[in-house]
Subunit: 342 residues, 2 copies
DNA sequence: AGGTCGTGTGTAATCGATTACATGCATCAG
DNA sequence: CTGATGCATGTAATCGATTACACACGACCT
């Protein structure tokens, strides 16, 4: 075992200031209940001893760890790590520590026992859309009653606080951008669907195609997983086509990038031969060649608002009743991968 | 406040199994000290009640939180988030939770008081090379005695356990690759230097240039910060050159990518007009156009080994005496951004 | 003078798990 | 039959912070 000099306790401070531990505690949490003179003596004792509160003891007594847990499907994915960045920041500002759980793959009950029943964390930010809706519901309102805020693509039906973008509507605007450029032959790389619901970005795409009375050919629809590889696969299918679309809306940037890169290998230039719009505006999108036109996903803001909402819930500052749902706007960012046909 | 049904305690289990709390505790941590029959009854009681240990209470009593802290300069950076990914994984396997601190910018004393004196975390994985060496030394061996493992580019002089690659040696091999391809006019995009020491990748570059008796022109050395933007800046300086190198070694991939992208905008093609080798092998490197030749930084392995080492130290399994230092090899990955001059 | 009230502080119980020590009981040697 | 030995289990102290309650003391009123 590693030895370390024992950290000073509240008792040490009390002795130093010649008061009781209770008074020290009060100075630290209810200063107004202590006389000016004592307060000063205690503060001096605190800095003299270098006292830092023992969180384990505090958690035990208060039944609150001042810690939140973020559960994500894949930290290594820049998309999630940007959200995480904002969450860490905001949590620190509010005095909370942040625990991270990764790839717990649809086993929310392990989260419950590992983190909440064992009172390691007070609340949960859930970024994994792969969690079954009924499990989610149970986690949020069942026995454990885990306070939580979710954020992922498929709007959950569950009765839970959420911070989201309107994927369907944003996908409509992405598609409209292509239509506005004069494209009539438009394909789509479809994102995966969760919980048996159709991918909302796909739905948005179909809506606009229908409204614009454009033909929606089945062979122009490429199934994908959001991974870059499905972009490559889509490119292969695309190249084999007898008649090709002039534009493609990819359900995310990774697939768009894979798609464009694979086409370039085959001699097709973007945007000369094909316009491509992505979705999410990941960091590389701007530095890719050509710079990718895409829908900006406000990840940073999502992380920040999710954290704020969760802590508001934890501290009772949230309005009771229906859980709050915040919907953010994803803005179109026109760069170099789409061009007008006119 | 949020109300939630109280989690069962060890007392509840004890009552259920008709034994004392001490026995339940023993079944859970020293099963061999309890008779077969009682052990079974307790196990049944545990699953009947759905008991989960209260970590706050355990931490208080044991003076150990079963939690490690990882401090990084920038979670959003894919480089770090890949390490983080491995760390989360490995920590979970060993039964540890993971706290994350981001951008604490050279204020290690705040880490000490916020996480260690307050006994929120038992050990530290430090990925931020920006920490002053003497502060680091103090943190590792001073009053608080924070058990830790570091990993960052500049080999710390501090007497601390570390998991690293040999940056200098790897930079030599990167440069040798360009030399072997027949390049004689070679430039370098220099990484930032920390703690007044020259960047080791720069040193490696200079070593090989000297050994190969190649001219090292000052105007072919471009200062950078590791951010993509410095690649753009380097490209501008490059384009203004009266005589240009035929190959460039960039101290990391981000700058290499920015460099290549900016050159392409100016009509220069890589590798036709210039060969570029990066360093780190970040995820995009393989999907960039052209696919980037680079040195593979074994981030995943670093995260895994750093976590293992730390937990070994925490659990007393580490060999006492000098802190262990593990040096990994960074392999050359030849892709499409470098070509032979012959 | 006696009582009421308010302010400031201390005492002690509490949160839940661990563990040194005590105890009870069975076994076995002499 | 007695006492030593060892195993299984219980009792109670402990970790450090919080807080209900008690108490002491002074101010003020009638």
């Amino acid at each position: 075992m590693v030895t370390s000099k024992k950290a000073p306790t509240i008792q040490d401070v009390a002795r130093h200031a010649k008061v009781s531990a209770a008074t020290v505690s009060r100075v630290l949490s209810n200063p107004e209940r202590v006389s000016e003179a004592t307060r000063e003596r205690v503060h001096k004792a605190v800095s003299d001893t270098g006292y830092t509160i023992n969180q384990a003891a505090r958690s035990l007594r208060m039944r609150a760890a001042k810690t939140i847990l973020i559960a994500l499907p894949d930290i290594g994915n820049p998309f999630y790590s940007t959200v995480l960045d904002a969450v860490v920041d905001e949590a620190a500002v509010r005095g909370y520590s942040l625990l991270v759980a990764n790839r717990f793959a649809g086993d929310p009950s392990r989260l419950l026992s590992d983190y909440f029943l064992s009172s390691r964390a007070d609340g949960l930010i859930l970024l994994d859309g792969g969690v079954d809706t009924t499990l989610l519901q149970a986690l949020a309102t069942g026995d454990g009653h885990v306070p939580m805020v979710v954020s992922f693509d498929e709007a959950p039906k569950a009765d839970v606080a959420a911070v989201l973008i309107d994927n369907l509507e944003a996908a409509e605007r992405a598609t409209e951008h292509l239509v506005a450029l004069g494209h009539t032959k438009i394909g789509h790389i479809i994102g995966p669907s969760r919980n048996a619901a159709p991918n909302p970005r796909f739905v948005g795409f179909k809506n606009v195609m229908a409204r614009a009375k454009l033909e929606l050919r089945p062979e122009w629809l490429f199934p994908g997983t959001y991974a870059m590889d499905s972009g490559l696969a889509a490119a292969e299918a695309f190249l084999a086509l007898p008649e090709r679309p002039t534009a493609v809306f990819s359900a995310n940037d990774e697939m768009a990038i894979g798609f464009v890169a694979a086409l370039r290998n085959a001699g097709l230039e973007c945007p000369r031969d094909i316009s491509v719009i992505g979705f999410d505006d990941i960091a590389i999108a701007r530095h890719f060649w050509p710079p990718l036109t895409t829908m900006h996903h406000p990840r940073e803001q999502i992380g920040r608002l999710a954290t704020e909402s969760l802590i508001d819930i934890l501290e009772g500052a949230a309005t009771p009743g229906a859980p709050r749902r915040i919907t953010l706007r994803a803005d179109l960012v026109v760069r170099g991968s789409t061009r007008s046909l006119r």
